[in-house]
Symmetry: C2
Subunit: 174 residues, 2 copies
Amino acid sequence: MDFWEVLETRRSVRDFESSTEVSPEFVEQLLQAAVRAPSAGNRQAWHFYVVRDPKVRQGLAGAAYGQSFVAEAPLVIVVCADPEQSAGRYGQRGRELYCLQDTAVAAEHILLAAVALGFGGCWVGAFDEGRAAQVLDLPSHLRAVAILPIGKPAGKQGIRTSRRSLQTVASFIG
Amino acid sequence: MDFWEVLETRRSVRDFESSTEVSPEFVEQLLQAAVRAPSAGNRQAWHFYVVRDPKVRQGLAGAAYGQSFVAEAPLVIVVCADPEQSAGRYGQRGRELYCLQDTAVAAEHILLAAVALGFGGCWVGAFDEGRAAQVLDLPSHLRAVAILPIGKPAGKQGIRTSRRSLQTVASFIG
C-alpha cells in the first residue's frame, strides 16, 4: 500500500472481527516493521510481547482498566522499553526520553504495518503498568509502554479525529 | 512510494546536497504527516519549529554539541512537546510519557514522509534542551524533544544499522 494511503487510513480501531486468523508470517512482518524504528545509539532498548492467548489478553484488558476490546482483538502486542539498556549509555536522558521515543516509534511502525496489511489496531496507553507486568510476568528490567490490540476492523470504522490547523501547531523561522 | 519501501529505505542521513530548494508545499506535506500521528486523548501536545534561517540552524548545531550537519541541512524541523497540555488531562503520565510518545511518532512521520518524497533526514536527540530553547526563543511551556535536519541525501548513503534478531527481542504467549 502506498505510504500516504497508510498514513491517511490509519485510525484507532477498537472493533474487531472475531474469527480472524493471525499467521506467524503476519506477526513477523509487524515485528520487522517495529525494529526498523530508529534507535538512539542503536541500543534497541525494546522488547515485544506477542500475545494470542485469550486469558492473557483478558488479563491485559483488566490491566487497561477494563477496556474490553483489548481482549477481543485476536492479537495484542505489548511494547516494552528497557530503560537501563538506554541509560547504560545515556544516563537519565536515555532512561526518561530516548527509550520512550524509540519504543513509541516501534509501536507506530507496528500499527502502520498492520494498516498496510489490511488490519487495524489501537494504541492503548491508559493501563496500570504494574498489573500489565504481572499479567505478562515481565522481567524487572522491562517497562510496558504501549498495548496494541490488532485485528481485522469490523463494522463501520470511526472517522479520523480532528486536528488543529497547521498554522496553530507550527512556527516558521526563515 | 510503497509503505514497505519507505520503511526499508529510511536511514540516518547526515550528508546533504547544499543547493536543495525547500518548497512551502514540501514543508506542508511533512507537517501534514506529523499531525497524522496518534495523540493521547487527541491533546495534540506538540509544536513544530520549521527552520530555514542559516543562523538559527547554526545555533541548533551548537545546541546539538557541534553536530555540524544540523546546520548543513537546508531544513531543520524541531519537534516540541507541550507537557502541561498533556498533563492537564493525564497528570504525571501525560507529562512524562504520552506527550513524549506522541511527539516521537510525529517526528518519525516527518522522517518517513521525507523519505517518501525523495529526501532524507536524521533524528538528533543529543542536544542541550536549554540551549535549543534559547536559540528558538521557545515559550516556557514547550520542550524541544527532537531536532530533525532534512535535505536531499548527498554522496554514498550509509548502510542500515544492524538489528538483533527477532527471537531475541520478542516473546510469544499463545
